[in-house]
Symmetry: C2
Subunit: 441 residues, 2 copies
C-alpha cells in the first residue's frame, strides 16, 4: 500500500480525552475514530489489526474443534424472559422497540439464543458433544464508557458455547477452551494468566478469567512466574486426550495466581519463592464459564440419552474480547515513540520510507524494494508522500510496524539502505539485496 | 469435516413459512434459522457460504483500489439531523434511546458517518481521490420482512463511498465500481445486468442497479443478450484507465436493458433483434449512486484545492447485498433436488458418502480419500453418519456441493468408487486414484 493513496489520519498531538496509552496511541496512529461515547469506527490501519486478531481467534477455535456460526445482533426480548435474565440484566442492556412495538434488544451475549438454536437442531446424545461459536458485535450500555476500545459499548466478542451430556464431558469441553485460550493469546505475543473468577451474571459454578499483564490493567494480579514460561503452542497436548489435558491444566493451575479480590499475601509468600513472584496489573481478555443446566433447563434443551431418557444438556460459555485485545496488545507492547506490534498482528510487515520522493534513483530503488518485498509475500506500507524525513520517521515509529526500510540518495550513492527493527531499535546499513534477505529470510 | 461432528440440522419437509425457493432450501439445508421476523442466525453451512461471498466482494473491492474500514452498527441521531435525513427515513429506521436518553439508531446505511470520518481525516486535494468501504450488518425495519435472507431486517451489506475533487473525477470512481461489480457477480457464477435506476432516499443524479436473473425476482426485466456474453474477468480493462473504462461501459450500456418501471416495448423491439431479446425476472443485488455534494455540503466536507480554494467533495455510494446474494445465488442455481452451488461459493468442495459405516474396508477407503482430498486443499464434508443410503443421497443433493464421492462395499469389491457431478448429474465409476485425479486435476 502506498501511503499517498491510503487513509491514515495521524494526529500530531495527544488527544486529551485519552486516559490510557492504548487509547492515545490508537487515536494518534489513525486506527480508530470515536463516533459516539464508547462507539468506534475502525479506520484502515486499525481494521487490519482487528482482522488479524479475529483470524487468530478463529483459527484456534477451529483447531479445538469448535464450529463457527453467526447469530444476529438484534434479539427478541421473549427469549430473555424465558431464561429470567431480561429483568436481571439492568441498564447495560440496550432495549429497543421495533415498528410493531415488539420488545427487542441488542445482544450483550448469546446463551439464550444458542441454546434455542441447539435445542431445535439436535435429537439425541449422538449429536453431542458440540461447541458452537461466533464472532459478532455486542452492545453493553456502560454508564461510563472509557479507555477507547478497552471498555467500549459496541465491541467485537468471540463467544463459544459447549453442549455435553454430563458434567464430566462438559469439563473436557471447558478444558479444551482453556488450552485454546492459552494458545490464542500466545500467538498474539501476549502471556495470559488464567485466574479463578466469579461467575457474575452468566452464572454457574466454575469460571476462569484470562488476564494479560499491563501497567494500566483494571486489577492487581499476583502469580507464580511459571505462568510466563510455558510454551502452549509447542506443548503437544492433544485436545482429544481428556485425561492428559486435565492433568496438564491441573499442574499448571496448581501454581499460585490471584487478582486483588482473591489474593492472600501470606499464602502467596508461603507457596512462591521470592524470585518467582510476579506482581503487576492485569487486563481481562477472556473469560470462560461452566454453568451446567442453567439455560438448558428453562429453555427445554433436552436430548435423548443412550438409555432413552431425556436429559438436560450441560453447557459452558467462553468469551474473548476481540476488539479489546487490540488495545490490550498495545498496552502490553509500546514505548515512548509509539506502538510495537508483535509480528502476528502487525497491520503491515514492513514500512518503507522514501527520503526523497521525486529523486529518480531513490524512487526507483524504493519501487524495486516495494515490489520485491510484496512478491515475497510481505505486506508493505510505502511512505511515498512528500512529508519531511523527520515526520516520516516519527509516523513510522508511532504506527509500530516490525521493520522499517529507509531509502535515501545519500545511502544509495554507496549502494546502501537502512533497515531498522522497531522493537530492538537496531539499525543496519545494508545493500538492498541484503535488506531483502534480512526481511524475507 | 465429519458430518457426525458437524451441526447441520436438515429439515425433511418444506417449511410452510417459506414462499420462495431460496428461503425454502436454506431452511431445509440447515443454513439459517429465523430468530425473529426478518432476523436470521447463520448455521455452520450457511455461514461458510456467507463468508465466501463476502470474501469475493472484498477481494474485488480491494482490486478496484477501495480501502476497507469498519463503521459501527449503532449511530448517533445527531449526524442524521445534520444531513436532514433523520425525519425523512421513516419507520424503516430502527430508532433507539440509550441509558442517557440520547437518540441513537441502527444504521441502515452510512453516508453521513463516512462523510464525517473523511472530513476529519483529510486536508487537501492531495488526499483525493479515495474510496472507503466496509462490510457490516445493517438494519431496516421492513414492515413485512419476507423471502428469508432476501428481504430481511438485519442484513449484511458492503457499502463503499467515493470522494473526489470534481464531477469528472467522481465519474471515474463510479465507473470503477461499475466494473468491479460486474467482476464480483461473475466470480459467484451470476450474470448481473446493470440498469438505470431511481436514486430514491440516497439522492443524487445518477444510479444503476445490478439485477440477477431469477424466476422469483421482484421486477420484470428486458435486456439484450449481449449482457450475458461479456467476460469481465478476462476483459483486461484497467481501473486506472479512465477513458478506456468509460468507453467500455458506454459500449456495454448502450445495449437495451430496463426493468418494468422504465421498459418501453416498442423501443426494445426496435433496438434488439428477436433472437437477442431476454425477458425474465430480476433480483437487485447491487446498487450504485453518484450524488455529488449532497452530503458533503451540509456536513462541511471540504478540501483545499490546488488553487487554495475550499471545495465540497463529490461523492457516490455503492452497495452490494452480501447476505441477500446467498439467497440470490440459490434462486439462480438450483433444481428439484436442492441447491447447486457454483464452485466459488460452495460451502465444501466435495461431499464424501460412506455407504456402510462400520465396514472396515469402506471406512478405510473413505478415510484415505478424506485425507488425500484434504491434503490436496479441498474442503470435504464426510458423511460418516449411520443414516440410510437414500437419506444420505438426498441430503447431499439438497446441500448442493459441486462433487460427490460415493463409497460402498459393493463398488470396493471391484476397486471402484462413484463420482457424481451435482450440476450435470453425471456419474462415473472410477478407482479411488482416478476419482482423486478427477477432483484435484
Amino acid at each position: 500500500m502506498r501511503l499517498s493513496q491510503y487513509f491514515m489520519p495521524i494526529l500530531r498531538d495527544d488527544p486529551k480525552e485519552a486516559e490510557i496509552v492504548s487509547h492515545r496511541l490508537m487515536l494518534r496512529a489513525g486506527m480508530v475514530r470515536q463516533e459516539s461515547a464508547g462507539i468506534y469506527s475502525w479506520l484502515p490501519m486499525g481494521y487490519r489489526v482487528l482482522k488479524k486478531v479475529e483470524q487468530i481467534v478463529r483459527e484456534e477455535q477451529n483447531r479445538s474443534g469448535a464450529i463457527e456460526v453467526l447469530m444476529p445482533t438484534i434479539q427478541s426480548a421473549d427469549l430473555w424472559r424465558k431464561s429470567g435474565r431480561y429483568d436481571d440484566y439492568g441498564k447495560e442492556m440496550l432495549r429497543i422497540t421495533d415498528r410493531h412495538d415488539r420488545d427487542m434488544l441488542y445482544g450483550p451475549t448469546n446463551e439464550e439464543m444458542i441454546t434455542e438454536m441447539f435445542r431445535s437442531g439436535v435429537q439425541s446424545y449422538k449429536d453431542l458433544p458440540r461447541n458452537l461459536y461466533h464472532i459478532q458485535w455486542k452492545f453493553r450500555d456502560e454508564i461510563r464508557p472509557r479507555f477507547g476500545v478497552m471498555r467500549g459499548r459496541e465491541f467485537l466478542m468471540k463467544d463459544a458455547y459447549s453442549f455435553d451430556l454430563s458434567k464430566e464431558a462438559a469439563r473436557h469441553s471447558y478444558n479444551k477452551m482453556f488450552l485454546s485460550y492459552l494458545k490464542t493469546f500466545q500467538r498474539m505475543g501476549l502471556t495470559a494468566v488464567p485466574m479463578k473468577a466469579d461467575t457474575g451474571p452468566i452464572g454457574g459454578d466454575q469460571s476462569h478469567e484470562f488476564l494479560v499483564l499491563a501497567e494500566t490493567g483494571e486489577s492487581e494480579v499476583f502469580f507464580d512466574r511459571g505462568y510466563l514460561e510455558m510454551d502452549w503452542q509447542a506443548s503437544g497436548i492433544s485436545y482429544d486426550d481428556a485425561e492428559g489435558l486435565q492433568a496438564a491444566i491441573n499442574g499448571f493451575t496448581s501454581l499460585y495466581a490471584a487478582t486483588d479480590e482473591e489474593h492472600d499475601q501470606s499464602e502467596f509468600e508461603a507457596r512462591v519463592t521470592e524470585d518467582r513472584r510476579v506482581t503487576g496489573r492485569g487486563i481481562e481478555v477472556g473469560h470462560i464459564f461452566y454453568f451446567g443446566t442453567k439455560y438448558s433447563e428453562p429453555l427445554g434443551c433436552l436430548v435423548q440419552g443412550a438409555d432413552g431418557q431425556q436429559t438436560a444438556v450441560h453447557s459452558g460459555s467462553y468469551g474473548i474480547g476481540v476488539s479489546r485485545l487490540v488495545g490490550g496488545i498495545i498496552e502490553a507492547s509500546h514505548d515512548d515513540a509509539g506502538i510495537i506490534w508483535p509480528k502476528a498482528v502487525a497491520p503491515f510487515d514492513v514500512g518503507l520510507i522514501n527520503l526523497k520522493v521525486g529523486d529518480a534513483d531513490t524512487d526507483a530503488a524504493c519501487l524495486s524494494l516495494y515490489q520485491q518485498l510484496g512478491n515475497a509475500g510481505l505486506d508493505v506500507l510505502y511512505d511515498d508522500t512528500d512529508e519531511r524525513a523527520g515526520g516520516k520517521f516519527n509516523t513510522m515509529d508511532l504506527i509500530g510496524l516490525p521493520w522499517q526500510v529507509i531509502v535515501g540518495p545519500r545511502g544509495l550513492k554507496d549502494g546502501m539502505v537502512e533497515v531498522k527493527n522497531r522493537k530492538s531499535g537496531e539499525r543496519d546499513t545494508l545493500s538492498p539485496e541484503a535488506a531483502l534477505q534480512r526481511l524475507t529470510g
